[in-house]
Each structure stands twice: as C-alpha cells, then as structure tokens.
C-alpha cells in the first residue's frame, strides 16, 4: 500500500511543515495560471515579447498574483529543499549554515523578484 501523507521531519518545526503543506495547493493553482498565460495569451500565443509582458502587467491584480506566486514558491521550495537535506542527516553545524543560507536566499530573491515586478508594472 502507498505510504500515508507527510509529517514534520526531525529538525523541522510544525510551522515550517505547515507552510510547505499549505503553499502546495496554492502553488498548483497559481503555477497553472502562470503556464496558461505564458503559452496561450499574447500576440504570438504566449508572453513572447517584452511588450506582451508589459501589457500583461497593466492589470493591477497581475502584479499582486505574481508577487504572491513569487513569495509562496520561494518559501515552498526552500523549506522543501531543507527537508530533503534533513533526510541526509546533516551535522548541526551544516544545518545551522543551511538555515542562514536559505533564509538569506529567500529574503534576497523575494526582494529582487518584487523589485522586478514593480519595475515592469511601472513601465
């Protein structure tokens, strides 16, 4: 029989596990919209030119949706990758380094991505 769902791993707090689990279904919906837009909308059947992208970002809800997508996908992927590393039983020092590195990556790429969204929405 197939294994039962997911539970917090050793070294993973319940809140981190819950964020990973809750962001999953949100991401499936937003990522599907993202893929449909990128392959079906626009002058060439998808966002295939710079002007298509700028035009797409003109509706106020698009930057909001893309911002939510950015933050949730970064949180989900970094918490997930940390979980994969936990399964490899890292040393305490390695885990401490990973915690700081992943937090920095998450904050850094969120800031960079949100800046990019604001720049494009402003053009």
């Amino acid at each position: 029989m197939i294994e039962t769902g997911s539970t917090p791993k050793q070294g993973e707090t319940t809140i981190l596990w819950l964020i990973k689990i809750v962001t999953g279904p949100i991401l499936l919906i937003v990522a599907t919209i993202h893929l449909i837009v990128n392959h079906y909308i626009g002058s060439l059947g998808g966002l295939q030119t710079y002007s298509d992208v700028v035009k797409y970002y003109k509706a106020w809800y698009i930057p909001v949706m893309e911002g939510i997508f950015l933050v949730t996908v970064l949180a989900h992927s970094l918490i997930g990758l940390r979980g994969v590393i936990l399964d490899l039983r890292p040393t305490a020092a390695m885990l401490k380094f990973i915690n700081w590195a992943f937090a920095a990556l998450g904050v850094g790429f969120s800031a960079y991505g949100l800046w990019l969204i604001i720049v494009i929405a402003g053009r």
Partner: protein
C-alpha cells in the same frame, strides 16, 4: 565510510528504481521533480532580470526559447510542475487524514491527469 560518502550513498538510494513499490515511485517522482523545479526556479528568476534591461535585451533573450532543445527543457518543467503538484495534492489531503485508504487510486488518477496536462501543453508548445 566517511560522512561525505554516506551523504552521497543515502541520496543515491532515493533514486534506485529496482524492486520499488508504488509508494516509493510516488516519493521518487516528488523528490526528483522538487529538485529539478528548485534549480529551475532560481535560473528563471535570474534570467528574468533581462526584463529590467529593456525590450532589446529581453526580446533577444527570448529568441533562445525558439530552439527545439529549449522547448524540450520547457516541457520538462511543465511536466515537473504537474507531476509534483498533483502528487503533492495527494500528500496534502492524506496528511490531514483524508482519503488515506484511497491513496493508490488518488495517486494513479493524479498521474493520469498530469499526463493529460503534459500532452495538452506539449502539443501547444510544439505545434503553435
């Protein structure tokens, strides 16, 4: 065996398909797609930086996406999104104790649904 070898051996075992149950195939699909998608996510965010440089930089970059090799890579990303996402929904609902005895059927349905989505996007990407 040193710590680094142990680390590699443990990771390699995840992807050994010999004599695996449906349960482990679900695990392997989830883990492989997760690693692939995480790598792609950061690559995608970095390359989208071309948007900030203006139309010429971005449109020139997009010319790369017309190559068949790029399209195969893009289809692999689409496949990973659907297989990881739909298998993930199964994991989420069973994590909350819902439909646990029907996991096998849910897994197979999710993979069939994923394959249909991959075919639809694949046809669009290679025929449009």
């Amino acid at each position: 065996m040193n710590a680094q070898s142990n680390f590699i051996v443990r990771a390699a075992r995840w992807f050994d398909p010999r004599g695996r149950s449906l349960s482990t195939w679900g695990f392997m699909i989830n883990r492989l797609t997760a690693l692939g998608l995480t790598f792609y996510l950061f690559l995608h965010l970095i390359t989208l930086g071309q948007l900030a440089q203006g139309p010429d930089a971005y449109d020139n970059f997009l010319k790369l996406t017309e190559s068949p090799l790029y399209k195969i890579g893009e289809l692999a990303v689409v496949a990973a999104v659907f297989l990881h996402g739909l298998n993930g929904v199964r994991i989420v609902i069973t994590s909350f104790g819902i439909a646990v005895p029907r996991q096998r059927e849910i897994f197979i349905s999710a993979m069939v649904l994923g394959l249909i989505a991959i075919i639809i996007f694949g046809l669009r990407m290679f025929t449009a």
